[in-house]
């Protein structure tokens, strides 16, 4: 936190803002004392909770890591500069976010702008990043449109895959289990009626059907639902071995607790966003073990373990085991691209991000068409870690435990 130097940017807004905009002064290297990193993240409003877990802590950690290491070396300019931060609250609103990005680009002359949290905000700010030529490292956006978007906005990078990636991986994993005879043919799906839930259920429904599964329940519930008893009561009578919920964090937690209460303990219990959160084991108690969800990490990676430690030390909370590591990796990519290019030429850095190979906490990363294709897609809580069971490019780090242990009734 000490590295923050927030400029009081807006003094006498109207006139001075205009004046600065008109001037648009080029900043010369010899005047520089720092590389300016700007970001607008939701600190209030509906998205604040999500950003507070996957996005903001990683931005803080990265800035801290870089500055502790003495800053970034810009070889062409012959300097090593620390990072300074300009941060805004986008108030969970696309309109505010777009304006904040415009402001970071043109008023604050940020050298790099880090994206906000979530699929919608990343899409909403895509054109603005592109217009001003800033690379956009979309580490918390899940969209099947990624290939199109990457073509449309040359500066955009899509690092968290699309609904199909996660849905197909889950189905493939379950097909193997069915072949092994551990689960029956019946699947129930409940999805939150919001971007994430719909994207995944849209991909999952046909994938399950094509794989010969019988979808005995496939419905959505509205954002903000707190009582899942009706869904669980209905599903528990349908004889399914596999329950899949493409859910959001509050729902994920409530579904777990209410399934335990209803003693609905299917062999495969898969939940959406929130399963990979560090607080999940605390909420589910002993019952977190064996729960599957979206995301996952490689439990054998020492680098990742070190990242978890640093993150916990700085932020007072562990990172989640899905988007957090990818967010941090995206920052490492940016860092390495800057050092390789040797100055702050954003076009060159964007090109390097597209084509280079990077060494990150999630291993070696090379983007394909501006997308990260090497992703952990299905994870499961095993021995206190949310281990990756399925990866888009390599084998899982662990075998799935199916059936999961039966629920332990809460004390």
């Amino acid at each position: 936190m000490t590295t923050f130097r927030r400029r009081t940017v807006l003094q006498g807004m109207g006139v001075s803002a205009l004046a600065t905009a008109l001037a648009g002064l080029p900043v010369f290297a010899q005047d520089r004392t720092a590389i300016r990193i700007g970001y607008a993240v939701p600190k209030t409003g509906a998205n604040a909770a999500g950003a507070g877990i996957s996005t903001t802590p990683n931005y803080l950690l990265w800035v801290d890591d870089v500055n502790k290491a003495g800053g970034l070396e810009l070889s062409k300019l012959g300097v090593t500069l620390p990072l300074e931060v300009v941060e805004y609250d986008d108030r969970s609103s696309s309109e505010e976010l777009v304006r904040a990005v415009e402001r970071l680009a043109t008023q604050d002359n940020a050298d790099f702008i880090l994206p906000s949290w979530g699929t919608g905000p990343n899409l909403a700010s895509g054109p603005t990043f592109d217009r001003f030529g800033y690379p956009q490292l979309g580490a918390t956006a899940v969209t099947d449109m990624a290939p199109d978007l990457a073509k449309r906005w040359k500066h955009s990078f899509w690092l968290l895959g699309g609904g199909h990636d996660y849905a197909n991986a889950l189905v493939q994993l379950l097909v193997k289990q069915r072949e092994a005879g551990t689960i029956n043919n019946k699947v129930a799906i409940a999805s939150v009626a919001d971007g994430f839930g719909i994207d995944l259920s849209k991909a999952a429904t046909p994938a399950f059907t094509e794989a010969g599964f019988e979808l005995v329940y496939d419905k959505t519930y509205p954002l903000g639902t707190s009582d899942f008893a009706p869904i669980i009561n209905e599903v528990s009578g349908l004889g399914v071995d596999t329950f899949v919920a493409f859910s959001y964090p509050p729902d994920t937690f409530a579904l777990t607790q209410q399934s335990v209460v209803a003693n609905f303990s299917p062999k495969v219990f898969y939940l959406g966003v929130g399963t990979a959160f560090p607080i999940y084991p605390g909420i589910a108690g002993p019952n977190h073990d064996g729960v599957m969800g979206v995301g996952g990490i490689d439990p054998d990676s020492e680098k990742l373990a070190a990242y978890f430690e640093r993150h916990t030390a700085l932020n007072g909370q562990a990172p989640d085991s899905w988007a957090s590591a990818i967010t941090y990796a995206s920052l490492e990519m940016l860092q390495q691209a800057i050092v390789r290019v040797g100055d702050l030429d954003r076009e060159a850095i964007t090109a390097e991000l597209s084509s280079g190979e990077f060494d990150t906490v999630i291993g070696k990363v090379k983007l394909v068409d501006n997308q990260l294709r090497a992703l952990w897609t299905v994870g499961q809580w095993q021995g206190g870690k949310f281990v990756g069971l399925a990866h888009t490019e390599r084998d899982g780090s662990r075998d799935p435990v199916v059936p999961k242990p039966a629920w332990v009734p809460a004390a």
Partner: protein, 326 residues
């Protein structure tokens, strides 16, 4: 079940024990499993509605007696949830005992808020319209302050803990003990409040102010202190609601407004200032939610809630139990 299977296109519906392939709702309901589902839906609906009613009773008291449309009501609830959370996780105090601390704190805080912030507004405004405008703006500000303090102390993350998440069996339907407890508490608080309002002298005074604040002083009632007390009782109920809710819901610092709006809907649907109205409206909304989720489509629960609410107002513009305006 029948309706559900007819609506969801992609679902192939095997009946576990098909008696006769049920067509239509009635046939399906005659089916034993569906009858059981109906019973369990009604039970869970009542339990959910109990929480709504509990949360709304405090607001109806605040608006009905103190004439304050308190937009920060939900944030008091969340603040109480945080209180229960801290007591439970840091000090190991179980939420039921925690209530003994949190509820008086809610009472005191609301008393203070009214005395310091709202009373001057109430005193200076002659007509009700102006107080309404002022109180909307002031409590809108209060909402941000409470939320901001919670954000600074607790951050924006999700909070949840597990308390009494054990199943209770009621005639074959399992319900979480914490939810049942919430229902019981709603009934206890509702009954207690109702007895206080109808059986005590002070309750009569409160009702007199609610019915006619202008002429209450004529019979020697100090409207200021009654309003302050009612506002504080409302705050205590909000705190009770907050503790109860924290036992089974995931909450975060920014969720207060959701509770405010839900409570307002219940209050308005029941009729402003009417406890029975709040109770009835809360239960109706809870029932509608679970019945729609069980028999039509979970995707339509909130739509149905609002539809019922709007329909009630179209038919009875003064709410279920409200007195006709003018």
């Amino acid at each position: 079940m029948g309706v559900a299977s007819a609506r969801s296109v992609l679902v192939a519906h095997p009946h576990p024990n098909p008696p006769h392939k049920g067509e239509g709702v009635l046939l399906c309901l005659s089916n034993h499993r569906s009858a059981h589902m109906l019973f369990s839906a009604i039970l869970t609906g009542l339990v959910l509605g109990g929480t709504y009613a509990l949360v709304a009773m405090g607001l109806t008291l605040q608006y009905g007696v103190a004439r304050i449309m308190n937009l920060a009501y939900g944030d008091i609830i969340i603040a109480a949830s945080f209180g229960a959370f801290v007591l439970f996780t840091a000090l190991g105090i179980n939420p039921l005992l925690g209530m003994l601390i949190v509820i008086p704190a809610g009472f005191a805080l609301s008393w203070l808020i009214y005395a310091v912030m709202l009373q001057p507004l109430a005193r200076r405004s002659r007509d009700r319209g102006r107080l309404e405008g002022d109180s909307i703006l002031a409590t809108f500000g209060l909402l941000f302050v409470i939320q901001g303090v919670a954000l600074v102390i607790f951050g924006s993350g999700f909070m949840s803990y597990s308390f009494l998440a054990v199943p209770v069996d009621i005639m074959g339907t399992t319900i979480a003990a914490n939810r049942l407890l919430a229902f019981v508490l709603a009934v206890v608080f509702g009954l207690g409040l109702w007895l206080m309002l109808t059986r005590t002298r002070f309750g009569t005074v409160i009702r007199a102010v609610a019915a006619n604040p202008a002429s209450a002083p004529l019979v020697g009632i100090n409207v200021d202190s009654v309003a302050r007390f009612a506002f504080a009782i409302g705050g205590a109920l909000a705190a009770a609601g907050g503790v109860v809710v924290s036992m089974y819901l995931t909450f975060s610092a920014t969720m207060g407004v959701i509770f405010t709006m839900k409570a307002l809907i219940v209050v308005i649907m029941g009729g402003v200032g009417n406890l029975m109205g709040a109770l009835a409206a809360g239960l109706i909304l809870g029932l509608v939610e679970t019945l729609v989720a069980s028999f039509i489509d979970p995707g339509l629960t909130l739509a149905a809630t609002y539809l019922i609410f709007l329909a009630v107002l179209v038919v009875r513009p003064q709410g279920l139990f409200g007195k006709a305006a003018r």
